[in-house]
Amino acid sequence: EVHLVQSGAVVKKPGDSLRISCKGSGHSFSSYWVAWVRQLPGKGLEWMGSVYLGDSDTRNNPSFRGQVTLSADKSLDVAYLQWDSLEASDSAIYYCAKQASPGAYYLPLFDSWGQGTLVTVSS
């Protein structure tokens, strides 16, 4: 079974850059798609995009295009979510979630979730 461990909570200022991570432990994590999901305070789940750890192929939600970058390091079994310039409205919990089936075929059903990373952006 693959477990997802995310980087810890951070406090940043508007305009700062940030990269948060999601590391998989267990069998063949590099063969999976990983999604990033945003949860604004008191709100629901929003899919931001997905990255395939095998070759860093991505699928992106147009609503977040240009705001964040999804990437992966196959050798480290890690997926990343990056901002070049944070805004206060980026304050949220960010979850990574693993696609249930392995391989390059994209089928966004999620079976494992990380513990979440709280990002606070405040001046």
């Binding site: 999604a35 999901v37 629901g44 789940l45 929003e46 899919w47 997905s50 699928r59 992106n60 939600n61 147009p62 979850y95 979630a97 249930a100 089928l107 966004p108 059903l109 999620f110 079976d111 979730w113 990380g114 513990q115 979440g116």
Partner: protein
Amino acid sequence: NFMLSQPHSVSESPGKTITISCTRSSGTVADNYVQWYQQRPGGSPTTVIYEDNERPSGVPDRFSGSIDVSSNSASLTISGLMTEDEADYYCQSFDARGVVFGGGTKLTVL
């Protein structure tokens, strides 16, 4: 893209049965699998139903899922309600444009 609409909240007594609906706004609910996730207060989501009606190992058989093409909706049914079932429940599906989550339903077991 399509939307998934859920009731904002439902409540029921322990031991009873509830059903949470998830209606797809466009396209056909049968075209793409529907999943259901449970999120307890302060916790991460966990999968309770995948591929419309399949239960992951470890999820009690009190949880079941179904789809109804006539109403273009999916449903999550929880029988024998327990206080530990109190949580937010989200449906999720997808199409060629991307992944969509429903707005979430807060289940209160009182």
